[in-house]
């Protein structure tokens, strides 16, 4: 497949791809209504194409994308499960898409009911007492949750808790979100088994610590077996325990973060609850809290009184809004449809089969690749490409070669505590045949690394473009199309 010219290069003056409605009121010159100094004199260069040209342009672009609908996508920590088509149909109902956020509440009872039901079901799933659906993504949820924690301590008159403990295996968003709240980040070194080291935790806990941020299972796919002890230590020090819900898929329906002792939880509806990732978003990052933190939630929350759903702004200690309007409503619609479809039994099966798939792959892959923390894992595990280095091959080469076999590579070089990390998360929606095919391909590639490493170093060769020069992209930045380029 060759390069698709940009939409700007295809533009021809005089073409158009849409008919613009007009009300038929008498035409008036713009400068009768808007003073000349405001009227645009700067040229506006948007592409001019007919509808079929636009359709072909974007269809051809779409064909250069790998996606779940195309194949296996074992990206660790991203939970690339199947996105049900039912959800897409529902989310396009006009009663959901053509409603305005400021409509009177009596005219959007259906929408508010969806939000309320989702809040209630997420409470049951996580064991938390209250939820906000406002945050737009996981990192946005983290920011919301950490601000709640900050406000909670300050409300108690405790202003010295400026530090947040974060394991060295954590997602980069954890320290970044904490920093945005004004916290100082203190890194916790993982123990020998890849889990939280209790001695290390104890040594770092004191009355300046606001919270410990954890994901359980952690980014190695390992369950923190001593989570209750960890929770006690954190609480005894007067700090709170934050749950990064990126890995909730592993325990869905079987273990509740609320039961483990977490005080604040964020979820990723676009991971665990099957809503599509859309090339990077939109997602949704609801935040659940225990009772004592309710008053700090962002306003408004959805409540129910006298037979009606309403937006409750009456939280005087609220951290405030974290975005406009009510959050990513359409994403909530899809997530609720998913929860209703799966039911309690189905949600448990999600955890069970995602863990089964991961352990099956771990077992088989451990026969030909090193797995540094090779213990019974949850929904994902991390292998290492370090042993391939002696053949002059890096993990990135192995990842690129997987593309030639028709697979999306796993997450690589994360978590940072494993050298040449290859982080594999199969999810529950993949068949055994798919897993076997992937394992077979990976095995072949490891053999190729030994016999003909150039196959890996020159990969991919069957993709629309070969390896791209990222150094040039920074040294000679070209971040928009310009007419004089070509």
């Amino acid at each position: 497949m060759g390069r698709v010219r940009t939409v700007f290069e295809k533009s021809v003056d005089g073409r158009r791809g849409s008919s613009v409605p007009s009300s038929g009121f008498p035409k008036r010159d713009l400068d009768e209504m808007i003073p000349k100094k405001f009227i645009r004199s700067t040229p506006l260069n948007l592409p001019k194409l007919s509808e079929p040209e636009v359709v072909r342009h974007y269809t051809n672009l779409s064909r250069m994308n790998y996606s779940i609908d195309v194949g296996f996508y074992p990206l660790g920590s991203c939970t690339m499960k199947y996105n049900p088509k039912m959800n897409e149909i529902i989310s396009r109902f006009e009663g959901f898409t053509f409603i305005h956020p400021y409509q009177p509440e009596e005219s959007v009872q259906g929408a508010l009911r969806i939000m309320y039901e989702l809040q209630e079901k997420l409470k049951k799933i996580t064991g938390m007492d209250h939820f906000t659906l406002q945050p737009s993504a996981g990192a946005h949820g983290e920011f919301t949750g950490m601000l709640i924690i900050k406000k909670y301590h300050e409300d108690r008159g405790d202003f010295k808790r400026k530090k947040v403990l974060i394991p060295d295996s954590a997602h980069g968003t954890n320290p970044a979100s904490s920093a945005m709240c004004g916290f100082e980040v203190v890194e916790l070194k993982s123990g020998k088994d890849g889990r939280v080291d209790l001695a290390e935790l104890k040594s770092k806990l004191n009355d300046e610590v606001a919270a410990l941020m954890l994901t359980n299972p952690n980014t190695l796919g390992l369950y923190e077996k001593e989570i209750e002890k960890i929770a006690d230590l954190v609480h005894d020090a007067g700090a709170l325990l934050y749950y990064d819900g990126a890995n909730l898929n592993a325990i869905l329906g079987r273990i509740k973060p609320g039961d483990m002792g977490f005080d604040v939880v964020h979820l990723n509806l676009h991971k665990t609850f099957s809503t599509p990732h859309g090339m990077g978003g939109p997602g949704a990052g609801p935040v659940g809290v225990k009772e004592k933190l309710r008053d700090f939630l962002p306003v408004p929350i959805v409540d129910f009184k006298n037979g009606r759903f309403y937006l409750n702004y009456d939280l005087p200690k609220s951290i405030g809004r974290v975005r406009s309007f009510h959050g990513n409503f359409i994403v909530m619609v899809k997530a609720l449809a998913y929860v209703d479809f799966m039911g309690e039994e189905g949600l448990k099966k999600v955890a069970e089969l995602s863990v089964l798939n991961a352990n099956y792959m771990r077992k088989k892959i451990s026969e030909f690749l090193k797995i540094p923390y090779n213990d019974f894992c949850m929904h994902e595990f991390v292998a290492s490409g370090e042993e391939l280095k002696k053949y002059g091959v890096k993990t990135i080469d192995l990842a690129k070669r997987l593309m030639d076999y028709g697979f999306h590579p796993p997450t690589i070089y994360f978590p940072l505590i494993v050298h040449e990390a290859i982080m594999i998360e199969p999810t529950e929606t993949e068949t055994k045949e798919t897993l076997d095919n992937f394992i077979e391909a990976l095995k072949k590639i490891v053999e190729e690394a030994k016999s003909d490493p150039n196959l890996l170093k020159n990969a991919p060769t069957k993709t629309p473009v070969g390896r791209l020069d990222e150094v040039r992209a920074v040294r000679k930045p070209k971040l928009r199309w310009r007419g004089d380029d070509k």
Binding site: Y413, E470, V471, A473, V474, R475
Partner: protein
Amino acid sequence: MKRYTRTHEWIEVDGKVGRVGITNYAQDQLGDIVFVELPEIGKELRKGEVLCTVESVKSASDVYAPVSGKVVEVNVDLDSQPEKINKDAEGEGWIAKMELSNPSELDELMTEEEYEKFCSQGE
């Protein structure tokens, strides 16, 4: 006199002023350098504080002051040609000149021989 740090910086002192950069070993580990966030002239630093940041495509690495002192000059060529660090890390790829406030700190640093040995031991 040229000295090296365990965090892979070098300093070459001439009188009261020393030229500072990252070592050839460090540039090789980092790969293509695409950006150097140069320090401000006049900035006072204590030994071990962050002098500036050097970026490759996938990493941002802090460069630490090998000694205490004041930044008196920076290598503005690196703004447009950060690749100079890859080409000549311990020459034309120097980052800043520092006026030493405590020259005795140099004694705590490694000689070229010691540094070579340090690198060959892997870290």
